[in-house]
């Protein structure tokens, strides 16, 4: 154990940074820097986010009143009522479609599909998620606006939004179900459960927190989209009274009003208020999904060990 015995003579230390050199030393020093570098990256991500929220809030909050929510935009005045209504209806249709199709497809690939079909389904889901929203918009325009002779309708907008949202719900459902410990499936089947009973009684409750996260994530993305809807739901400033009419919506307000010349000041303000409102809604969605999935997840403690 003595250094002397190995012929190192007076060299007292073998444990300090100074005792090693070259590459080893650079690696050790770099390791020590990591805890400082990572927070920098963290700040680099968060700073623009907070800066943007602050910028939007600054322009929106001073003029934001209850009337902003309850009044319809007329000319250069009024509020966001018709757009809020339109957005809520569009996202409701989109979520219903995406949840129904996405969860059913996830069930199918995770439990029923032969392996080859399942991996094809997953590939198709990824491709759909990668299709630019504007392409979906054109697709919806040709199919649901022109081909059907509907013209611009809220229903078409909701359907295209649903198609846009489907892959996110589908993928999280599939991942969550295939992530259920296989021993749970074994145990259920060994009790005489049929695959459907296993899925509904055991797998679905286990996967639910993740599926919920997927649905809310898809909603947040859908809320922020304008491209698929402008080409299908058109635009109408008056509050909608039926699904077969065009509608206005919050992202549309941002898109249309932000580009107007500076003289049209009130509409620019409306664009910022719409953006501010969207940010609030997305934040609220995040909080809700966090609370919900925490509540469900608590039951699962110890399952994934």
């Amino acid at each position: 154990m003595t250094a002397g015995a190995e012929g190192r003579g007076e060299q007292a230390t073998t444990l300090t940074y100074a005792s090693v050199s070259g590459r080893t030393r650079r690696r050790l020093v770099f390791d020590r820097l990591i805890p400082w570098l990572l927070p920098l990256a963290f700040v680099a991500v968060l700073f623009p986010l907070f800066d943007m929220i602050f910028w939007v809030a600054q322009k929106a909050v001073p003029t934001f009143t209850l009337a902003t929510l309850t009044e319809t935009q007329v000319g250069f005045g009024g509020g966001l009522y018709s757009m809020i209504l339109g957005t809520l209806i569009l996202i409701a249709i989109g979520t219903a479609i995406a949840t129904g199709i996405g969860i059913a497809a996830g069930f199918y690939t995770a439990e029923y599909a032969p392996p080859a079909v399942a991996s094809f389904g997953r590939l198709a889901g990824n491709i759909l998620a990668g299709v630019p929203a504007i392409v979906l918009g054109y697709f919806g325009y040709y199919l649901l606006v022109l081909y059907t002779n509907w013209g611009f309708t809220t229903l078409a907008g909701g359907i295209v939004l649903g198609i846009f949202m489907v892959p996110y719900v589908y993928r999280t459902t599939d991942v969550a179900l295939t992530g259920v410990p296989p021993t749970q499936r074994e145990a259920a089947l060994a009790m005489g459960a049929r695959p459907r009973q296993y899925l509904l009684r055991i797998a679905f409750p286990i996967a639910l927190p993740t599926i919920l996260t997927g649905i809310f994530f898809a909603m947040a993305l859908g809320l922020g989209e304008a491209a698929p809807i402008v080409y299908t739901a058109g635009w109408s400033s008056t509050p909608i009274t039926g699904l077969m009419q065009p509608t206005s919506f919050l992202t549309g307000a941002i898109w249309l009003f932000y580009d107007l010349p500076p003289s049209e000041g009130t509409l620019l303000t409306l664009a910022f208020q719409a953006a501010f409102l969207l940010i609030l809604i997305v934040l609220a969605l995040n909080v809700i999904v966090q609370l919900l999935s925490d509540r469900y997840r608590r039951r699962l403690q110890g399952l994934f060990e």
């Binding site: 392996p115 021993t183 749970q184 499936r185 074994e186 145990a187 259920a188 089947l189 060994a190 009790m191 005489g192 459960a193 049929r194 009973q197 009684r201 055991i202 409750p205 286990i206 039951r299 699962l300 403690q301 110890g302 399952l303």
Partner: protein, 260 residues
């Protein structure tokens, strides 16, 4: 229940004949023939990878829940009914022939709902479920420990308690046969002892097939033992005989601890 009242004329719980299991190109089990007697504990022993798990999984058609296994030969339930016949519902087979796994596999629901699981699949009325849950927990030797915690998540119990909940869950549908794959492998000595005591109780009413890695456990807890080696049944008989006067050299080497 009806299954219970049907008399078993020949004392055989399972009659296995020329059972072979293949995974695509290779044989996992080759030509197994054995009678599993009623109301006894049969231990299945043998070195790792010899096919013990595959063997008991082929006794209640769990083999078909994993891709790529083919089963040949016959397994006669109570010595009469072919479980691999095309007219047989695997779901019913698994209700009559229950299974408990190596690690506890409680569902992430309450203790009560875990034990009630199989009864709910059969849409039993709630008052009957309540009775059966208590009776099964008693039979599994865990009632005293959990009777105040029936609404607690089963996952919050200790490993040994969870395993006995799993046994209770399997018992609740009143199986005639219980297949157990190293049921005490993940348990401490005290829990192991409880489970073994439970098995002894149970074997008065039903037939138990237990895979075990512990020769001592086979000697303690079983009345019959089957020794498997490389996918074949080498020897089978009353536990005492097999341990004291093994007929095959391979068996002797294994039970005297010279290998395996």
């Amino acid at each position: 229940m009806s299954a219970e009242s049907v008399p078993n004329p020949n004392g055989v719980a399972l009659r296995v004949r020329h059972l072979s299991v293949r995974a695509r190109d290779r044989a996992i089990l080759t030509d197994i023939s054995i009678d599993i007697p009623d109301k006894e504990v049969t231990a299945v022993i043998g070195p790792s990878g010899c096919g013990k798990t595959t063997f008991i999984r082929s006794l209640n058609r769990m083999t078909e829940t994993t891709h790529g296994l083919t089963v040949q030969g016959s397994v006669l339930y109570r010595g009469q009914e072919e479980i691999y016949s095309p007219s047989v519902a695997p779901v019913l087979v698994r209700q009559r022939i229950g299974m408990v796994f190596q690690r506890p596999t409680v569902f992430p629901i309450s203790v009560y709902e875990n034990v009630a699981f199989g009864l709910r699949l059969e849409h039993q009325p709630e008052d009957r479920i309540e009775q059966e849950v208590e009776y099964s927990l008693v039979r599994a030797g865990v009632w005293e420990e959990v009777k105040k915690d029936l609404d607690r998540p089963a996952l919050s119990l200790s490993g040994g308690q969870q395993q006995r909940i799993c046994i209770a869950r399997a018992l609740a549908v009143r199986p005639r046969i219980l297949l157990m794959d190293e049921p005490t492998a993940s348990l401490d000595p005290v829990s192991t002892q409880r489970v073994e005591a439970t098995l002894e109780e149970l074997s008065r009413e039903i037939s138990i097939v237990m895979v075990t890695h512990s020769i001592a456990q086979a000697a303690r807890a079983s009345t019959r033992t089957a020794y498997f080696y490389q996918g074949r049944l080498i020897e089978e008989g009353p536990t005492e005989e097999l341990f004291e006067r093994p007929k095959q050299e391979l068996t002797e080497e294994y039970v005297t601890g010279r290998f395996g």
